[in-house]
Symmetry: C2
Subunit: 368 residues, 2 copies
């Protein structure tokens, strides 16, 4: 499978939901497979909080493939022999698209930092749509994403009705609830409590312990309490003393490792801006009611949730289904039986890849 | 109701589970009600992570009463007209009992800090028992506590069989599971990430932002996700801008406030040591099996859990009941229907105060 990593630069301003704008701005993206002549085999993949445009395949020398490689590739559920798959790095992120550590003007040597405008999920989708327009893509076969990616899929269905044939939001919500806003807040304040963060003026490349600790907080809800039990139990690190203050249970070592790695590959301000985008997410904003928001969706929607998701609960996606039914939309709801937790959408691909390929093949169309 | 706050000083060493010792050491405690002639009306109250010996009543000029004032007092469920109630500040804490910020030797001007030994729940209970011996108390009517206090109640039943008539652990567990160890770890690392913590050598009275952020993490599990919804929804702080990066939802303002207050009244090292004690808690340590541990308990045990507790799940307390049944112990399990969350044991006293008074009056004795 061929991976093409590209950068699109735009000089026309990107007007944001806040009323502010980005000018110029750019978006990094990757494609897999070939665009057909009719340009009607395009699938947009939307990534989660710490994700990137690198959804599938391996770069030369890489040990690990892209984050949804189990789902995307030749002969896989999202079959790159059939489909032209695009995944973009969202604006606000730190993998090549315009974000808080970008220069305010090219060559200005001044980075946005806290001057960067607040970005919303709506803005991310708008930027992606401009890219697709630029590529001459008039129609999507599908938009598919999990977690923050699912928010984008939902938003695309609302903001650009008729643009995608299938909308597939996974492990997500329609309105970020107070509990998740609280988790996000704890992460943001943990970063801000780090003196080296310097209120956003940290040195480029500085290692921020506060960001490592914030990542550990995130990990508390990526797997379920019962998965914590299964993976770690009360195993203690063999070389650590039980009565050493900083001696570690295996689960602590796991958090410590993943936390410690994070500042090496993710930017603190991008993390804060994306958390803010997630907290602000509410499909009802800009409409008189949630019903009005959901009634915008003209495409076929397939909701996929996981029974053991303790971050975005299945109950929340069942509510989307209720709203869609209420407004007479076309919506199917699938709840995958799993106690793994929120990360199921990344880890338990075997449990829903057939469902994805069935949707894409049109085999569930007669169920509406 | 009369409050007596006292300090007991011991010169004989306190031998700890780690093999280390404290010498000298002291314990702060409070009593309510009067000890009767037979000294058989004593109830020991054991406190949670951020609790103290001040369980009931108001000090002169105080706005807020002790942390379990709804339960303890004249004519209340734990009736101070009948019972002599004792609550001690656990060793390791920061309200007057020996802890990491105590002087190594009185007058030495050197504080323990990271030289303080790791304390376990077993050690806390041992210290309390020594105090009770010193006070000439040979028998408890009951030991009652929630969360970390429930761990102490359970431990007392195991380590001093026959000492208490009734063991009443509330909203707790018998073995801290990986999920909770992970939460504790995230809090500990958030404190350590604060440069002002200086690896435990922070200045006395220094305000530690890392401790404030750690407290916010704790708050994520004190109430349930649905209580977050009910209390806060998606209300935004009226004076904050929706698209200001640090503009706040009400739930963020709530976390910020409670987080910011915490370093003013709690010590960072005590917090770390008590979190470590909770993570290490396992009634099976020192026994060949959990069955063997539970078979030590000779007293009547009443377990109280809350259906919506998302920190120590009811499932965990049902397991205690199973073990007690297996070893032929006397144990009753009560699950209070509530979706409030873990803090129910502090907040929803109306839901279980009758149960407590019934237990103390012996009215449930015939159910064994």
């Amino acid at each position: 499978m061929k991976i093409e990593t590209k950068l699109a630069k735009f000089t026309k301003p990107l007007y944001l939901e806040s009323g502010r704008l980005l000018e110029p701005w750019q978006i990094k993206y990757e494609t897999y497979g070939e665009l057909n002549e009719n340009k009607d085999n395009v699938i947009l993949i939307t990534h989660a909080l710490s994700g990137s445009h690198h959804a599938a395949g391996k770069y030369e020398g890489d040990r690990k493939p892209g984050w949804w490689d189990g789902l995307i590739g030749d002969g896989k559920a999202i079959d790159t022999k059939k489909y032209f798959v695009i995944c973009t790095n969202v604006i606000g992120s730190c993998f090549g698209s315009t974000g808080p550590m970008s220069e305010i003007y090219p060559g200005s040597n001044e980075r946005y930092r806290l001057k960067f405008p607040v970005i919303t999920i709506k803005d991310m989708v708008k930027a992606q749509k401009i890219l697709l327009d630029f590529l001459g893509i008039k129609k999507l076969k599908a938009v598919i994403g999990g977690s923050m990616g699912g928010m984008q899929a939902l938003r695309l269905g609302i903001d650009f009705p008729g643009f995608a044939k299938y909308i597939i939001p996974i492990a997500t919500t329609y309105q970020t609830r107070a509990y998740v806003i609280a988790i996000n807040k704890a992460m943001i304040e943990t970063i801000r409590a780090d003196k080296d963060f310097k209120n956003g003026n940290y040195e480029v490349g500085a290692y921020l312990k506060g960001l490592a600790a914030a990542r550990m907080i995130g990990y508390l809800n990526y797997i379920s309490p019962s998965t914590f039990d299964k993976k770690f139990g009360r195993e203690y690190v063999k070389t650590d003393g039980m009565f050493e203050l900083f001696g570690r249970f295996q689960v602590e070592s796991y958090l410590e490792y993943n936390g410690a790695m994070f500042p090496k590959w993710f930017d603190a301000l991008s993390y804060i801006y994306l958390l803010k985008a997630i907290s602000l997410f509410d499909v009802g904003r800009g409409f008189n009611s949630l019903e009005e928001a959901f009634s915008q969706i003209k495409d076929k929607m397939f909701l996929i949730s996981f029974s053991g998701d303790t971050l975005f609960f299945p109950e929340e996606m069942r509510n989307i289904k209720k709203y869609m039914d209420k407004v007479g939309g076309r919506c199917q709801y699938y709840e995958i039986d799993s106690d793994y937790g929120h990360d199921s959408f990344l880890v338990e691909i075997d449990k829903f890849s057939n469902l994805i390929s069935d949707i894409l093949e049109g085999e569930l169309d007669d169920r509406f």
